[in-house]
């Protein structure tokens, strides 16, 4: 039932009353002639309705959620508490710097830590999600070439395993996209890359480890090839969790990158955001960072923090939001970074990798095919269910839906696009061995079900609030806004 269907004219949550007042002085031409059609319900009805809706969700707090490339790790409640302090929630974004030194010091300290783990020269926290960070990074590449009068570069190279955001971002920045294939072992096809680059190359966007769940071993060569023709390298930090504390993207030859703080730094995913997508750049690209970010000066031996705005950053690509990005999310990441500390950060990459390799090995032993069996898994790996689809008629989608009945969120399905019938599985470091074993047992059980009674798997799920939904109807008979039936 929708909240609108609980509505009764004249009912309200009385405790949310304010004084109101007259609109004297506002000419009638500006006024609304009927009240907005919001629900009229009691406070208890609201609390019960949304509490019950929440119970229809899978989440990290309630289920193992091994969604590949999304890093669904535990989101510490301490981070929420820090970001919920009155001093955090009550601060207006345009408060003067003189009354904001404590807040600015938190952001600056986070910038410094992110600079360190990425091996870059400077960080701007302002992009509000990974895709906006990507936009910032590619816009910076463009600004760099333009500033040198090198304006003939018209292409961004993207491996075919890339996240969809990469080619979409390149187009938003005015570039054409050239795709480079992946070799059989999961590394980029280096000869194809050699053929693809030239004077038209502005840069290359790459995730490493890639979405194939393997580390790009020839990254040094890749960097040399792209730099050799005057292009720049963009690092998509979606998979940074795999190498946190183990490898710095700057040391791999990347010039600019974004991080997804809602992934690697465990600020929550929120049912689809808010995230935060800071960008980090090396010295070459530093002048083009998006504003605002925090600068630290010293005055009589004391630190003084101020915002870097257009006036002090004439070569910036500009601002990407009305204020300072998702500051509250950045505070959560700051708290997480403080709790992890140096040793904790090294361990994140280690245990994320241990968990993924353990799962890959055990699933392989149980009869599942790995997409890249000759390779080490990174923090994630791919199982291909092509064999099961062919012999049993049970697809990756069917396995995914049946896993929901077993109480596990499905891995990422059908991505990357180049592996047929695939599951991209990312357990993260915060899951225990028992949880991984439980998931493996469920996969084995579903495989047995598929052999004995394929229809059982193909009809899943059975235990959720709804069965499989009619996506075709959803798209053809668009119903995006509730309209009560007449009468």
């Amino acid at each position: 039932m929708l909240i609108f269907q609980r509505s009764q004219p004249g009912r309200r949550a009385d405790s949310q009353r304010s004084d109101g007042g007259s609109l004297d002085g506002l000419p009638a031409e500006f006024l609304r002639d009927e009240a907005p059609g919001l629900p009229e319900v009691s406070e208890l009805q609201v609390v019960r309705h949304y509490t019950n809706l929440s119970r229809k969700n899978f989440s990290i707090d309630t289920q193992f959620y091994p969604l590949g490339s999304c890093t669904m790790k535990y989101n510490p409640r301490g981070a929420l508490r820090a970001a919920s302090l009155d001093a955090a929630l009550g601060r207006h974004p345009l408060s003067p710097e003189s009354a904001s030194q404590g807040f600015l010091s938190c952001l600056h300290h986070l910038q410094e830590m992110l600079r360190d783990v990425t091996g870059m020269a400077a960080v701007s926290l302002s992009p509000m999600a990974g895709a906006q960070g990507e936009f910032a990074g590619v816009a910076m590449i463009r600004a760099y070439h333009d500033a040198r009068g090198d304006t003939a570069r018209s292409e961004i190279i993207v491996p075919d395993s890339a996240h969809g955001t990469n080619p979409a971002t390149a187009v938003m920045c005015g570039y054409r996209v050239r795709e480079v294939p992946t070799a059989k072992d999961g590394d980029i096809d280096i000869e194809a890359l050699r053929r693809a680059v030239g004077p038209q190359t502005a840069g290359l966007m790459m995730t490493n480890p890639s979405t194939c769940g393997v580390f790009e071993r020839r990254i040094g060569e890749v960097a040399d090839i792209v730099h050799g023709v005057g292009g720049l390298l963009y690092y998509d930090g979606a998979n940074l969790n795999a190498i946190l504390g183990k490898v710095k993207p700057g040391d791999m030859g990347f010039d600019v990158l974004h991080m997804n703080l809602h992934k690697t730094f465990a600020t929550p995913h929120g049912g689809g955001g808010p995230g935060s997508g800071p960008v980090a750049a090396n010295e070459r690209l530093r002048p083009h960072l998006p504003v605002p970010y925090v600068l630290r000066d010293e005055l009589e031996g004391q630190p003084v923090y101020r915002w870097a705005e257009d006036a002090v950053c004439p070569a910036t690509i500009g601002r990407l939001s009305a204020f300072m990005g998702n500051a509250g999310i950045n505070l959560r990441a700051y708290l997480y970074a403080l709790m992890l500390g140096r040793e904790g950060m090294h361990r994140v990459g280690e245990f994320a990798t241990l968990n993924a390799n353990y799962m890959a090995k055990r699933l392989q032993a149980a009869g599942f095919d790995l997409a890249y069996p000759g390779r080490r898994a990174t923090h994630e790996f791919i199982v291909t269910l092509q064999k099961q689809a062919k012999t049993l008629g049970v697809t990756a989608m069917d396995f995914a839906k049946r896993l929901l009945d077993y109480g596990y969120h499905a891995p990422t399905t059908y991505f990357p696009l180049l592996v047929p019938e695939c599951f991209l599985i990312e357990p993260t470091e915060t899951e225990s061995r028992e949880e991984l074993d439980g998931f493996i047992a469920a996969m084995v059980s579903i495989l047995n079900e598929a052999r004995e009674n394929a229809d059982l798997v193909k009809g899943a799920p059975y235990s959720l609030p709804v069965k499989r939904l009619d996506d075709v109807k959803a798209a053809r008979e668009l119903d995006l806004v509730y309209k009560p039936a007449a009468g």
């Binding site: 009353r17 999600a129 979409a168 689809g272 500009g318 990407l320 509250g328 709790m339």
Partner: protein, 457 residues
């Protein structure tokens, strides 16, 4: 080992299964020269208690201010239930609802949100959120250019009274796509766009006109005249609005004869704390005919195999994970949890509650303007009708006044000189239902004292 549950025994068992000697061995495909050394700028890890205390210590260095600043971020009351429910783990720690059957809570909530926003703005459809108001405006400009592809013009007419940071964001985001942007000047006396300013643009082919009402200065634009003027020239109208004000103001869907075509804005006034500028959320509503050009997630109501009602992501062929380089936008993660809070907020306050917030804000702002303009040398700068913000002309530099008042616990507003050369003495102030008569009296008193001491200029 923060948040890593493995015991030594677990590690041994797992490494045995892998036939590896150490965790380190699992990184043997990474070229040795690339391996990171010790992190220099990351301190030793701390307990939750110590880390929270550290953040608290830093944040509480800053004075707590009574907020009279607006300019796109407003200090409204947030009912207790809003974030108590929004931060339930089932909402807060889920992700994009790709597995619809396991995400019906988030999906139904987003469908309800879309309905509320469409009703508030008077439009046909809504998406499930964008990052913030400024980036939503940039997306609206790109969407208008796509929708006008056949008409041939990519030029945009953007009112100078739109929030300057929104205009800057539009410039940064659309600059590489050959979309020229002309400014429609506002009147320096009224503080809004006057019809005379339209004349010099009458014969230029534009894809769209962008107007904000209440505008950045808090003034109400003549939305009917502007909308009709644009539609007569086959331009789309992009409206930038504050959703709280729509409780009482004419919704963009009713502007002029035809209504606005795309409506965007920031959802922050709907239950989101100030929080230094984010997370907020951008909203976007549109006419039905434009829905396939919309960016971002859209939720549809459908049925399951048993014909039971259910909700799912729809029109995904617009999106980057399907369409890649041909997507309507690169947006992926948006502001889901902020929208969750706003949906709960709108349900809690209902139509009457939202109207009361709007009316109280209007009345307090009027009282604020009267109280401040009574101070010697202070006057209201613009003549157009206002909603809950006011530009005051001070007898001193406004940035200096803001700094001095912050030392006395009052955030006086936002100085305008950095954006509008020549307006160095202008202060944009705001009042909401949160400000009491006593707060306003105190603000007027300390402002009067500071101005009496300040060197005149």
């Amino acid at each position: 080992m923060p948040f890593i549950p493995h015991t030594d025994e677990d590690v041994r068992i797992m490494l045995d299964a892998l036939g590896a000697d150490s965790i380190e061995a699992l990184f043997d495909e990474i070229p040795a020269p690339m391996r990171a050394g010790r992190l220099q700028f990351v301190p030793e890890g701390r307990s939750e208690r110590d880390a929270v205390a550290e953040v608290r210590r830093r944040l509480e260095q800053d004075p707590a201010l009574t907020c009279f600043a607006g300019a796109g971020a407003y200090d409204h009351y947030v009912p207790a239930a809003v974030w108590d429910i929004a931060t339930r783990g089932e909402f807060m720690t889920a992700y994009t609802p790709y597995q619809a059957e396991a995400s019906q809570g988030t999906l139904q909530l987003l469908y309800e949100y879309q309905t509320m926003m469409a009703r508030l703005t008077g439009m046909d459809v809504s998406n499930a959120s964008l990052y913030d108001g400024a980036s939503a405006l940039a997306e609206a400009v790109l969407m208008a250019v796509r929708a006008q592809r056949k008409a041939g013009s990519r030029r945009i007419l953007l009112a100078g009274s739109v929030h300057p940071n929104y205009r800057a964001t539009v410039a940064s985001i659309v600059c590489s796509q050959e979309i020229p942007i002309d400014t429609l000047v506002f009147c320096e006396s009224s503080g809004r766009v006057e019809p005379a300013a339209l004349q010099s643009h009458a014969d230029t082919g534009y894809a769209a006109l962008v107007i904000q009402s209440p505008n950045f200065f808090g003034c109400l634009e003549q939305v009917d005249v502007l909308t009709d003027w644009a539609h007569e020239r086959d331009m789309l109208v992009i409206a930038v609005v504050n959703p709280m004000t729509l409780a009482v103001l004419k919704p963009p869907g009713k502007w002029g004869a035809g209504g606005a075509d795309i409506v965007v804005g920031d959802g922050q006034p709907l239950g989101l704390p100030l929080s230094s500028g984010g997370p907020y959320f951008g909203f976007m509503c549109a006419r039905q005919g434009l829905v396939r050009q919309m960016p971002g997630r859209i939720i549809g109501r459908t049925v399951d195999l048993d014909r039971r009602e259910g909700f799912a992501l729809t029109l995904q062929a617009r999106e980057q994970h399907i369409r890649r380089s041909k997507a309507t936008s690169n947006i992926c993660t948006n502001q889901g949890l902020a929208v969750t809070a706003a949906t709960i907020y709108l349900s809690l306050v209902g139509p009457q509650g939202l109207q009361e917030v709007a009316r109280a804000s209007y009345r307090r702002a009027a009282e604020l303007a009267t109280a401040l303009a009574a101070i010697d040398g202070v006057r209201v700068h613009f003549s157009a009708p206002r909603f809950h913000e006011v530009v005051l002309h001070l007898p001193a530099d406004a940035a200096m006044v803001v700094d001095r008042l912050a030392q006395r616990g009052v955030l006086a507003g936002v100085p305008l000189g950095a954006w509008f050369p020549g307006m160095e003495n202008c202060l944009l102030s705001c009042a909401t239902e949160q400000r009491s008569v006593e707060d306003i009296r105190h603000f007027a008193a300390v402002l009067g004292e500071e101005l009496a001491e300040a060197p005149a200029c």
